[in-house]
């Protein structure tokens, strides 16, 4: 089962990173989510020992026997919830960036780090003359 899971993880992680490397911010966020899903799968697969029975102790039994390993499940469960919170945050950030900068193109978001040939770019030897950017929303 491990090779199959590993192959699945490979495809998911590769697709996630490929999307995250896009200059389209929306694809970037989706890629981040997919990368998270791949990480969860990998974590789960690494600890997948035992049978495919749920990790619930049978009625009458005292200890867990012949069941899936509960430890990675607990880890993955919280990772899913936290990952979801992260993706939600990224979406909120994305929407705010689109409103503020008027673009969802990562290559055009250069408020903090202008291109070297930008006329507003400070000369390399001086930290005194920082460029002045509009504080308010640019529209």
């Amino acid at each position: 089962m491990i090779p199959l899971l590993a192959l699945t993880v490979f495809v998911t992680v590769t697709a996630g990173v490929y999307l995250a490397l896009s200059r389209d911010l929306f694809r970037c966020v989706v890629g981040l989510a997919m990368l998270g899903a791949g990480a969860n799968l990998a974590l789960y697969a690494a600890g997948a020992k035992g049978s495919a029975r749920p990790a619930v102790i049978q009625k009458g039994a005292e200890v867990l026997a012949d069941a899936a390993n509960p430890l990675p499940q607990a880890l993955v469960l919280t990772a899913i919830v936290i990952g979801f919170a992260l993706v939600c945050f990224a979406l909120v950030l994305l929407l705010r960036v689109m409103q503020y900068a008027g673009s969802d193109d990562a290559d055009r978001l250069r408020l903090a780090e202008p291109r070297p040939d930008d006329p507003l770019k400070p000369p390399s030897h001086s930290a005194d003359c920082l460029p002045v950017y509009p504080r308010e929303d640019r529209s």
């Binding site: 896009s22 989706v30 020992k49 990790a55 026997a65 509960p70 430890l71 919830v81």
Partner: protein
């Protein structure tokens, strides 16, 4: 000044309270000295786990330093009350000076290397604040920065040296170290410790090649210069060397470096003094030269040299501090310190002139002054110990130029008629600006006439450097010796230098300017200018400003590191066995995940992209459900459902702004794909390694066995979450809460922006 115009100085009562601090310290030291209660020791456990105690020990050397710190401190505090009268920064000055004095006291009494280091660093930081006291002037800020960088860097070297020394000696107690180290083999570690400690001491005491910061530190107000740069802080390096002299004294390297650096500093400082036109900077360079002489003397063997160190320490404090006060009085009274524009001040500033004469006599080593006795002791020490010829020459230059500098400070500005007389409006300052320097200068003369008073003190200080009985040290009397001839020679040369001061100044200035470009100060400046340039260049290289580039950099670095780690452990690697064919549900789930992931790569439409990504999530859920993880599966299903609903509503927003399709982009980005595949492969290999390695079931078994008996729960996953690892879960829900908290201002900003836009329309 930003604050000077608005505020007033502090009141008389507050000033007196501040001054009571050094005064009570002085009284305490004098009382202890008079009752011969030294040495004193005290210790307080501080960090017992690391063996760090707040250990203090006061012997003769510490007592001498304490006496100078408290006596000059009292004078400085009194003086500052008059000099800074009405200045709004006066309280800041007093607070900083008080803290500085406490740090000094701590440094010279500490008996533990690391405790000493702490106080040492405190003096560096406080001296930074004091030199940069007039922080609105860029010159002050630059000088303060230079002083801090040099002494701070030296402090780091010192810490490293202390740690090495403490490890080699097996103890950090200074008294134990100086007993242990001479018996140790002179190995590489001790040599490294020695060199690092020397760097620390040399930077603090402005020894060549770190000498250039001290004259620049004259940007500080005069009370600060008089305190830090004549009597106390710059002597710390000398103090440390004298303290460790019994440990390293027999090392040829120690002797060579101390004598070499000290002699060069003594000669070079005096030559540079001839270049200056600013009275305070002239005094600063002569201080550098004196420090060089002190270091040379510490490096010399014999009781005579030790006595010379003690007496020169005391004498220098007693004449240099008043001379700094004189420079301050002149600055205060006339508004300038440039000697070309000063002259004939004896009528308008008679008291200052008297102080200058008394202190100058001591500096020049005139008979009946304490300086004369010290000079005598030094000449004797140098003729007794075998010294390099160069050191002798340096000593001659030092002595002669000291005479000349004393002449400039005490005679020239008060008697000679200047070419341009701007000093006619000069006036004497208040009483608090005359009494302190007068008292210090007078005590210098008193000790010259009655050297007996200082004898016990100096013998005690010398006893810290040479382990000989007190009686032998007392035998080296502080009396007029037979070396009058050599002293006469230095007076004669000094007189010549004094007379030809201006002529020499022109020659030296021209010559030294050429050397300046190669000097340490120039290198230091270049280094400072280079740092922001290097920072800008590296920032430019790393911070390209492109988000994909950052992601690529992070992912690429991570891949490389992981691959490297796995390559190092390659021998334990094996491809896991297929291990039976999984059930159709699992197979289907994996196919679903893979299909969703692959499909997402080709979607131009954002809704389709979202649906493909959703397949990955639902596929994972199915996989979890059929491999024994129902909790995870339900969580995944619910999360996916919520995510799709939320994302769909966002897509509706995007549709309204006409952004439903992705940005146009090359269909294939081979470089990105290669990097992504490389990272995926690394993660896959990592999974192989994890699953083929030995599996440690300790935790899983523990949870499986104790879940019901101890935690009363049958669902082991839930028991782990809420009971066994409850603290982790608490942390995780806190993260969820914090992420929401962080999103709230973004949402508020967005709402505000939208309302503004609506209003504008």
């Amino acid at each position: 000044m930003a604050q000077a115009n608005t505020g007033q100085g502090i009141g008389r009562v507050e000033r007196l309270l501040f001054t009571a601090l050094p005064l009570s310290a002085l009284c305490l030291v004098l009382w202890k000295l008079a009752r011969l209660e030294l040495p004193l020791s005290a210790s307080l456990s501080w960090v017992p786990a690391l063996g760090i105690d707040l250990a203090f020990h006061i012997d003769g050397l510490s007592a001498l330093m304490l006496l100078m710190i408290s006596a000059v401190g009292t004078a400085v505090f009194l003086y500052a009350g008059g000099y800074m009268a009405g200045h709004s920064g006066q309280r800041r000055l007093f607070v900083l000076l008080s803290l500085f004095m406490l740090a000094m006291i701590g440094t010279v009494t500490a008996d533990h290397l690391l405790v000493l280091f702490l106080f040492w660093e405190a003096t560096s930081v406080l001296s930074f604040l004091l030199v940069g006291f007039d922080y609105h002037k860029s010159g002050s800020r630059r000088s303060a920065q230079q002083a801090l960088l040099i002494t701070g860097a030296g402090g780091l070297a010192l810490l490293a040296g202390f740690l090495l020394l403490g490890q080699a000696a097996g103890t950090y107690r200074i008294r134990e170290i100086i007993e242990v180290v001479p018996q140790l083999e002179q190995g590489g570690r001790l040599t490294a410790a020695l060199l690092l400690i020397l760097v620390g001491a040399f930077t603090k005491s402005a020894q060549f090649p770190f000498h250039f910061w001290l004259p620049n530190a004259m940007a500080a107000p005069t009370p600060v210069s008089a305190y830090l740069h004549s009597a106390t802080m710059v002597k710390l390096g000398v103090y440390l060397l004298a303290r460790l002299d019994p440990a390293f004294g027999e090392w040829p390297l120690w002797e060579l470096l101390l004598k070499g650096a000290g002699s060069i500093t003594a000669a070079w400082g005096m030559i540079l003094a001839l270049r200056e036109r600013d009275l305070k900077r002239i005094l600063a360079w002569s201080t550098v030269a004196t420090l060089g002489t002190l270091v040379t003397l510490v490096g010399m063997r014999g009781e005579g040299a030790s006595v010379a160190v003690g007496s020169l320490l005391l004498a220098h404090a007693l004449y240099k501090a008043p001379l700094f006060f004189v420079a301050g009085n002149i600055d205060h009274g006339t508004g300038t310190r440039v000697i070309d524009r000063l002259g004939n001040l004896r009528h308008s500033m008679p008291w200052t002139a008297a102080v200058a004469l008394l202190a100058g006599a001591s500096m020049a080593g005139m008979p009946l002054s304490f300086g004369y006795i010290v000079k005598d002791v030094i000449v004797e020490a140098k003729s007794a110990g075998e010294v390099f010829a160069f050191a002798k020459a340096a000593n001659t230059i030092f002595g002669a130029v000291a005479v000349a500098v004393a002449g400039v400070a005490a005679v020239r500005v008060f008697w000679r008629h200047p070419g341009v007389n701007e000093s006619c409006e000069a006036r004497e300052g208040s009483l608090s600006m005359i009494l302190p320097p007068l008292a210090l200068a007078l005590s210098g003369i008193t000790l010259g006439v009655f050297p007996f008073f200082a004898q016990g003190l100096i013998a005690g200080a010398a006893g810290a450097m040479v382990p000989v009985p007190r009686e032998i040290l007392l035998g080296i009397t502080l009396e007029f010796g037979p070396t009058l001839a050599s002293l006469a020679l230095s007076y004669a040369i000094g007189l010549g230098v004094y007379i030809s001061w201006d002529w020499l100044h022109e020659r030296f200035d021209a010559a030294v300017q050429r050397i300046d470009r190669l000097g340490m100060a120039a290198h230091f400046e270049r280094l400072l200018r280079g740092i922001p340039r290097a920072a800008a260049a590296s920032t430019r290289f790393v911070q390209s400003g492109s988000l994909p580039a950052y992601v690529a950099l992070a992912i690429g670095t991570l891949s490389l590191l992981l691959a490297l780690v796995m390559a190092l452990g390659w021998s334990s690697f094996a491809v896991p066995a297929l291990g039976g064919i999984p059930g159709p549900a699992v197979l289907g789930a994996c196919a679903l995940i893979a299909a969703g992931a692959l499909a997402s790569l080709f979607q131009k439409d954002r809704l389709a992209l979202l649906l493909s990504a959703g397949l990955v999530g639902y596929g994972s859920g199915v996989l979890f459900l059929f491999s024994g993880a129902p909790d995870v599966a339900y969580t995944q299903f619910t999360v996916e459902t919520v995510f799709v609903i939320v994302a769909a509503s966002i897509l509706l927003v995007l549709r309204r702004s006409g952004r439903l399709s992705s940005l146009p982009e090359a269909r294939w980005r081979p470089a990105a794909l290669a990097l992504a595949a490389a990272f995926g492969a690394v993660i896959m290999l990592l999974l192989f390694v994890a699953s083929t390695g030995p599996f440690d079931p300790a935790l899983s078994d523990y949870f499986s066995e104790t879940s019901l008996p101890q935690a009363f729960g049958r669902n082991v996953v839930n028991v782990i979450l809420v009971d066994f690892r409850a603290l982790d879960t608490l942390g995780e829900i806190t993260v969820v809460l914090l992420s929401f908290l962080a999103a709230l201002p973004l949402l508020a900003l967005r709402r505000a922006g939208r309302e503004r836009k609506a209003e504008a329309e």
